[in-house]
């Protein structure tokens, strides 16, 4: 029949066009994904290329003579007057007997980190028997030496253009040839608090600050968020008021985080008189920030529990309360926990609200509690990125790598939790 023929002809005429359209659509989808992966790849590779070198650090091997007269006059270890810096400097100078002038010595001493003396002190305090002996000790080198060893300072340019003199570079070469310079694992990065000496700076303080904050956040946001979700889903009457609450919660999830910081400053610090820079306040602010995320995720999880389960329980005589706590909540828990973990990982990466409540601060001592002054990982990254010393650039990248690793772990935990515990109907 002519009509059928024409419609079939029409289909065939359009077929190649439709197939081409589909191909283009698929190709553009693939392209979009590829672009995304490409940028992620560039981001990660530059980060790792810049930050990887921060996980090692230049150390100098010195034969330090722990003379009793200098550190323990009268047989007793006298920490206040013991000149550990002097011991380390003498040990370094012994490698260069030809140097005598005061300026030469000053220049030579600059190869050493400020932390060198403290390291020897810690060693002696831990083991007083060493007094009077000579020990081979690896002490941290100054950050400029570290930058030279890592190739970030160009030894071939004119002396006036770099922070190490020609002589200093020659001395380092001499030490290097004697096997006294080595790149070793940078433990300080994980065991120290912040420092203005790049070679002594670590993220321990910031990690503990972030940890205490997240404890407060989860302790507050999870129960409150779950309770709110259960009430809104299971008990609240559906009327204009509950609609209004729902709209507001969804809206709150999109409020810029700095606004929560301002709120925290006004309410927790100025009105309630909580201390500035404390993880407690940071945790409270982040709890407010993650609350909507947890409520929304928990409500979705509760909604996903089939109504037949509720009806069966009610039919067997369970009260509404029992239905919720015996049946709905256990089934919705994986979804709620996933929401909580995603909320936590958002809180971990947040820095803007913390700026308002005094957590952008130089804090050396590692915080030991909820009211000790502390910073957080993202804030530490911000502070290091703004430091003039060259060696902080690689440490900034290293801190970002650590932060990303934590975020990855948390998101991975969320995925595994969902896979393991989720039930499908």
């Amino acid at each position: 029949m002519p009509n059928q023929m024409t419609s079939r002809a029409r289909v065939e005429a359009g077929l190649s066009r439709r197939k081409r359209k589909e191909k283009i659509f698929r190709a553009s989808g693939l392209l979009a994904t590829a672009i995304g992966i490409l940028f992620l790849g560039i981001f990660f590779s530059t980060l790792v290329a810049k930050g990887a070198s921060a996980f090692v650090q230049t150390y100098l091997l010195l034969d330090v003579e722990l003379t009793a007269e200098t550190i323990a006059p009268g047989g007793e270890l006298d920490l206040e007057y013991a000149d550990f810096d002097g011991l380390v400097r003498t040990a370094l100078r012994n490698n260069f007997p030809e140097l005598s002038g005061r300026n030469d010595r000053r220049e030579l001493n600059r190869l050493l980190s400020v932390g060198a003396g403290f390291q020897v002190r810690d060693l002696v305090v831990a083991n007083p028997d060493l007094i009077g002996t000579t020990q081979e000790i690896w002490v941290p080198a100054a950050s400029n030496v570290d930058m030279l060893m890592k190739g970030n300072i160009d030894a071939t340019v004119d002396e006036s253009l770099r922070n190490l003199s020609d002589r200093q570079i020659r001395w380092i070469d001499t030490l290097d040839q004697a096997g006294r310079v080595d790149l070793r694992l940078n433990k300080a990065l994980f065991t120290n608090g912040d420092s203005r000496e790049p070679e002594l700076a670590g993220i321990r303080g910031a990690m503990m600050g972030s940890f205490f904050m997240l404890v407060v956040t989860i302790a507050l946001a999870f129960p409150v968020g779950v309770a709110a979700a259960i009430y809104l889903e299971e008990f609240a009457p559906k009327n204009r008021w509950s609609d209004l609450v729902e709209v507001n919660i969804n809206n709150l999830a999109a409020v810029p985080s700095i606004v929560f910081g301002l709120l925290g400053l006004a309410v927790f610090i100025n009105w309630m008189g909580l201390p500035r820079s404390a993880p407690l306040v940071g945790g409270l602010v982040l709890a407010l920030l993650t609350l909507p995320v947890i409520i929304i995720a928990s409500r979705a999880a509760i909604k996903a529990v089939p109504p037949s389960i509720r009806e069966a329980a009610l039919g067997l005589g369970a009260s509404k309360m029992q239905v919720v706590f015996h049946h709905v909540m256990p089934l919705a828990m994986p979804g709620m926990l996933t929401g909580a973990i995603i909320g936590m990982s958002r809180a971990l990466g947040e820095s803007a609200p913390l700026l308002m409540i005094g957590m952008i601060a130089f804090i050396v001592d590692v915080p030991g509690g909820f009211t000790d002054p502390a910073t957080a990982l993202p804030v530490q990254i911000y502070l290091w990125a703004d430091s003039p010393e060259r060696a902080f650039a690689e440490r900034t990248s290293a801190a970002i790598i650590v932060l990303l690793a934590f975020l990855l772990l948390m998101n991975l935990a969320a995925v595994i939790l969902r896979r393991r515990m989720e039930r499908r109907w």
Partner: protein, 354 residues
């Protein structure tokens, strides 16, 4: 329903408990020095704090970077452990701030001038060195510049540096600088731009007759793209200069000092930004840095007196002290001795008439 009520009461009790215990914490004493203020002084104050913390039995002071104005505001809020002991500032305290302080009970303020900071105009190392006058800087960067006739102002017409001054190269004017919230920007505008601005006779006369207009002319930076606000991060400006050889950047001397192999500073009025030139005052764009301490807190907050002594010691702020390694330009020796003596005696600023 009992269960539900119990559940919610436990919840509310725990929330109230958490906040109550927190407020009791806040009332207790503080065993570390608390410093706030300028982000320019921050890199120096932190070094002193760290050395002090390591070398003494006291805790390391906490240093918050809030900007000069924000720091002095917190400082002046009151006396007691909840308020900062010290405010760092990249400018001298204002009369209005002293009276705000006084009205909140902060009457004994010890002023400590710690040294100088130079502000440099730098470009990439491989680009040509520039010798600018302050007048060139003003003409290149102001929004309105004086026209042909005295008293006439025109929208800044200059596109290249050669338009400003035929001795300069014919490259497009492109200057990266800090935003208006920055103390570095304030100082740059006051020292470099106003310095060039007042070289025009009729504008200089305005200062006496119409100071507001004088400031509006001298302090307003052009907004047509020649001056780019590059954010507070000076490292970023240094990186951008390496990428763009025609651009200039404005930042503190310590960043120039740390990045000598990639950027160089332009001479201003014939003087290159070197340590010595800033130190003896011949480099025109430099400013003094200060911190302010609360006398009432000394001997109440553990370590505060020690921190003051450490900061004003020769090994910290002296010619060869560790702060000069970080780019702080020391005060002349006599002045250092005088400021240190005044600080240790806790001589306070005179109170203004209430």
């Amino acid at each position: 329903m009992i269960n539900k009520r119990r559940f919610s009461s436990i919840l509310s009790v725990s929330i109230v408990g958490l906040t109550l215990s927190a407020s009791t914490f806040a009332q207790s004493g503080r065993d570390y020095v608390y410093v706030v203020g300028s982000s320019t002084v921050y890199p120096f104050a932190t070094v002193v704090a760290e050395r002090f913390g390591r070398g003494s039995e006291f805790k390391t002071p906490k240093i918050e970077s809030t900007g000069s104005g924000g720091g002095l505001k917190l400082f002046c809020d009151g006396v007691g452990v909840d308020y900062p002991d010290i405010a760092n500032s990249s400018r001298a305290i204002k009369e209005s701030e002293i009276s705000t302080c006084a009205s909140n009970g902060v009457t004994g303020i010890v002023e400590v001038k710690i040294g100088y900071d130079g502000i440099v105009i730098a470009n990439a190392l491989q680009s040509d060195a520039l010798d600018l006058s302050r007048r060139d800087i003003f003409m290149a960067l102001a929004k309105m510049v004086p026209g042909e006739k005295a008293g006439e102002l025109i929208e800044n017409p200059f596109v290249t540096w050669a338009d400003v001054n035929p001795d300069l190269p014919a490259i497009k004017i492109e200057v990266l600088g800090p935003p208006p919230t920055s103390g570095t920007r304030d100082a740059f505008v006051e020292l470099a731009m106003e310095g060039g601005c007042s070289s025009v006779a009729w504008i200089k006369d305005l200062k006496k007759s119409d100071e507001d207009r004088y400031k509006a002319i001298c302090h307003t930076v052009r907004e047509d793209g020649a001056f780019v606000e590059a954010g507070e991060n000076d490292n970023l400006i240094v990186q951008k200069l390496q990428a763009n050889p025609h651009a200039f950047g404005i930042f503190g001397f310590s960043f120039l000092d740390q990045n000598r192999e990639s950027v160089k500073g332009a001479s201003i009025d014939g003087v290159a930004p070197t340590f010595d030139a800033i130190s003896d005052g011949s480099y025109p764009v430099s400013r003094p840095l200060f911190f302010y301490a609360k006398k009432a807190h000394v001997d109440v907050i553990p370590g505060l007196r020690g921190y003051l002594r450490e900061f004003t010691s020769e090994r910290a702020w002296g010619e060869e002290g560790y702060l000069s390694d970080r780019g702080l330009i020391p005060l002349p020796e006599d002045e250092r001795r005088e400021v240190a003596a005044n600080t240790l005696k806790l001589n306070t600023l005179p109170l203004t008439s209430q």
